[in-house]
């Protein structure tokens, strides 16, 4: 084994040293594989970033109540006669004498996306005084919270960073009244950071919502209380609603997005892989045909078939890994931390950061390695199998 291994090392060294002679073909394979990895990691980074943004928003001791059958807030609606029943529900936590419950709805208002200068929908959420405290990691980073009953808005960090029209201190006209931005909040990079909040009652009036809301959020006194709440809602026929923890709510939303991204991203990478595979096979054949005399000579002086096989394969694998590494590097440089925004489930913008971890990097390199092995095996086998006399004749 040691002798065979030494043979393999020797052949690999000879072959790798001659790569510069086939520079263009080798380079084209590296580039092709790097592109595949780049696209694959792009999809994974989108997916990961979106998931992180949605997952971060969820808490286990906060429940979200939507109307029966609604999958998002936009498609949910609860009347006052329905939601006011919830104030009597068991298991809802209190702070002092106040129930930690917030009746909410979201409307879209125009903001200007700074990077493109175009108008986009931003979510303006009407919340009750308890609402802010229901968000994990909520804190005001600048200014102050809005006063209940006033025309004041607080805006999320991502709104300030990515969109124009709602800077701190700025006055903005919504319908007949003027609103002032009095504070900036953050919730640790969650989806709430792309929202603006104002007093629910004032907003209902301004946007002619009557007394309907879309969702109810409430803190429960312990995680087990959700069962009691579920029973309470099921037993009251007037309450045509479903309850889930906030974590579950966002998980179901991120599942849909993430399905979409992986459903598109992976097939794209697979399709592009065919091109890269062709590049790998071509590079391998090119190497074999250029070195045919060399291979025959090696065989004549006693090198084994397996040394030739693995040596040839080694070249392609090394090139593949280089391609993979280049792809990963470029993805890290370009995608990691890139802020992107798209439409979320409320037909309003969600800002999220693309994200790559070593796990995705590993997936990329594995993919590259698999392509190289797949592309290199047949040419390497051909090289090892070729009769010596045929080449030297």
């Amino acid at each position: 084994m040691t002798s065979q291994f030494r043979q393999f090392l020797a052949v690999s060294r000879i072959i790798l040293a001659s790569v510069p002679k086939r520079l263009w073909v080798a380079l084209s394979m590296v580039v092709a594989i790097a592109m595949v990895v780049f696209v694959l990691l792009g999809a994974l980074a989108l997916d990961k970033g979106m998931q992180a943004t949605l997952d971060r928003a969820g808490a286990d001791d906060v429940v979200v109540i939507l109307s029966e059958g609604a999958s998002s807030e936009a498609s949910s609606g609860l009347t006052k006669e329905q939601y006011s029943l919830l104030a009597e529900a068991p298991g809802i936590a209190t702070s002092g004498n106040e129930l930690l419950i917030s009746y909410e709805f979201v409307v879209a208002v125009d903001g200007i996306k700074r990077s493109t200068g175009t108008e986009v929908n931003l979510p303006l959420r009407g919340i009750d005084p308890a609402g802010a405290a229901l968000r994990t990691n909520f804190n005001i980073v600048e200014g102050r919270n809005f006063e209940p009953g006033s025309n004041e808005i607080v805006v999320g960090k991502h709104v300030i960073e990515n969109f124009d029209g709602f800077a701190l201190g700025e006055k903005t006209r919504l319908g007949a009244s003027e609103w002032e931005v009095v504070g900036v909040f953050e919730t640790g990079g969650s989806v709430y950071d792309t929202e603006m909040w104002a007093d629910r009652l004032i907003l209902q009036n301004l946007f002619n919502r009557g007394d309907t809301v879309q969702s109810v959020r409430a803190k429960i006194d312990n995680i087990g209380s959700i069962e009691g709440l579920k029973n309470f809602i099921e037993e009251d026929p007037r309450l045509n609603a479903t309850v889930s923890t906030e974590t579950e709510f966002f998980a179901s939303q991120s599942e849909a997005v993430s399905d979409l991204i992986t459903m598109i991203g992976r097939p794209l990478a697979i399709l592009m892989s065919f091109g890269a595979l062709a590049g790998a096979v071509n590079a391998a054949f090119n190497s074999v045909s250029q070195r045919s005399v060399e291979i025959a000579t090696l065989r004549t002086i006693g090198f084994g078939r397996s040394a030739v096989f693995f040596g040839t394969l080694a070249e392609i694998v090394v090139l593949g890994v280089v391609g993979g590494a280049v792809g990963v590097l470029f993805s890290l440089l370009i995608f990691n931390g890139l802020s992107a925004s798209t439409l979320g489930s409320n037909f309003t913008q969600i800002v999220f950061e693309l994200r790559l971890t070593w796990r995705e990097a590993l997936t990329g390199v594995t993919w590259a390695l698999a392509l190289a092995l797949l592309g290199g095996v047949y040419p390497a086998w051909q090289a090892a199998r070729k009769p010596i006399r045929e080449i030297l004749a």
Partner: protein, 382 residues
């Protein structure tokens, strides 16, 4: 004639390599076919040729306008015709079966959207029937809906007076989109029916769309409408249909950029692979080229040979890729509603242009190598 025999022989000389090149090209054109179809359909913002203006609520186009604005806008000086529409946010049975659906004014809608064609008798029936609905041809075909069918659509936005979300409709007519931009993948029903039955937003509409008497008057009309409603509870923002569509598509944000990036990467990859492979093929054929030159083949006929080879690869691979994309979209269309994504002739045409470009560009370096080669060098080199 002889040339084409040689091209075929050359291609068949190394079948595996030719097949691989074709696969590389096919995979990127398959990608192109799918993504371009998506681009032309779902994110289609091409409203060129329209000089319509759209009046929306200034807060956001998702906010409603009072119904009274419709009459007032219609009477603004310079306005030829106006109509209004309200987004219903409909879906059929499952929320995932999303249906483009609007409550409209049948009397005026098809005059303003003149590219939509509906039989006068159908239009008459739709507006005379309280719960009448007009279905776009593409949607009727996809869902197998027939005249007279009763269908229930759910709204993701409105609730009716009983707290339910389902509205019943009778299919009274069909319309088609003569511009073939997919506008027939939609349904329209009477505004009154929605207005009388919903629990909220009564007497409000979504958008007013108008045609000016002449496009030169647009600036005046926009100014007249928007200043009229300044400081009112519902201020307006009037823009051209092009601007409106563009800003709508912008909402999807970075998605379009990503699509362009992927197609670009994939093209570049196949360009590089086919290019370098052809170059290495030529190098391995040095002796052969020397022989051809000795036999008296002119430079131009040698270039033609090479070009024939690269074009053949591009054409075979490209056509296969585009064809496959079409098949995939057709098959996928049988199982799921693709929201009107299909391969239009524009996709085929653009694709074929790229095929030719690929064939031409990849022949450049090999041709230069071949032309520089002298007979002496070619036959002497080993």
């Amino acid at each position: 004639m002889h040339n084409s025999t040689l091209v075929v022989r050359n291609l068949l000389h190394n079948k595996l390599r030719t097949a691989l090149l074709c696969i590389a090209v096919a995979s990127s054109f398959l990608l192109f076919g799918l993504l371009a179809s998506f681009h032309f359909s779902a994110l289609n913002t091409d409203t060129s040729g329209s000089d319509r203006l759209i009046v929306a609520n200034k807060i956001s186009f998702t906010q409603p306008l009072p119904i009274s604005y419709y009459e007032q806008v219609a009477q603004t000086e310079g306005v030829d015709a106006a109509t209004h529409s309200t987004w219903f946010g409909g879906y059929y049975r499952e929320p995932s079966n999303f249906i483009v659906s609007f409550a409209i004014d049948f009397e005026s809608y098809f005059d303003v959207f003149s590219e939509l064609e509906i039989a006068p008798s159908d239009l008459q029936k739709c507006s005379a029937t309280r719960d009448g609905i007009a279905v776009g041809q593409a949607m009727a075909d996809a869902l197998g809906w027939q005249r007279g069918d009763r269908i229930g659509l759910n709204s993701a936005i409105f609730m009716n007076r009983d707290g339910g979300r389902t509205w019943e409709f009778e299919i009274c007519g069909f319309f088609s989109d003569t511009n073939e931009r997919g506008a027939d993948n939609a349904v329209y029903f009477g505004f009154e029916y929605l207005n009388e039955t919903r629990n909220l937003g009564v007497d409000t509409i979504g958008l007013v769309t108008l045609t000016p008497q002449s496009p030169d008057r647009n600036a005046k009309i926009i100014n007249a409408i928007d200043t009229r409603y300044t400081n009112s509870p519902a201020e307006t923002e009037t823009v051209t249909e092009q601007q409106f569509a563009a800003s709508f598509a912008q909402q999807f944000g970075d998605l379009r950029l990503i699509i362009a990036l992927v197609v670009g990467c994939s093209f570049l990859t196949s360009l590089i692979i086919v290019g370098t492979t052809m170059a290495s093929v030529i190098r391995s054929r040095t002796r052969e080229l020397g022989l051809l030159k000795t036999l008296g083949f002119s430079d131009s006929s040698i270039v033609r040979l090479l070009l024939g080879e690269t074009l053949a690869i591009a054409l075979i691979g490209g056509a296969a890729g585009l064809f496959l994309a079409q098949v995939i979209l057709l098959l996928a269309g049988q199982y799921a509603d693709l929201g009107g994504i299909d391969m239009r002739w524009q996709v085929w045409a653009t694709g074929m242009i790229f095929v030719l470009l690929l064939g031409l560009v990849t022949a450049v370096t090999p041709s230069i190598t071949a032309l520089r080669l002298t007979i002496l060098e070619a036959l002497g080199r080993r």
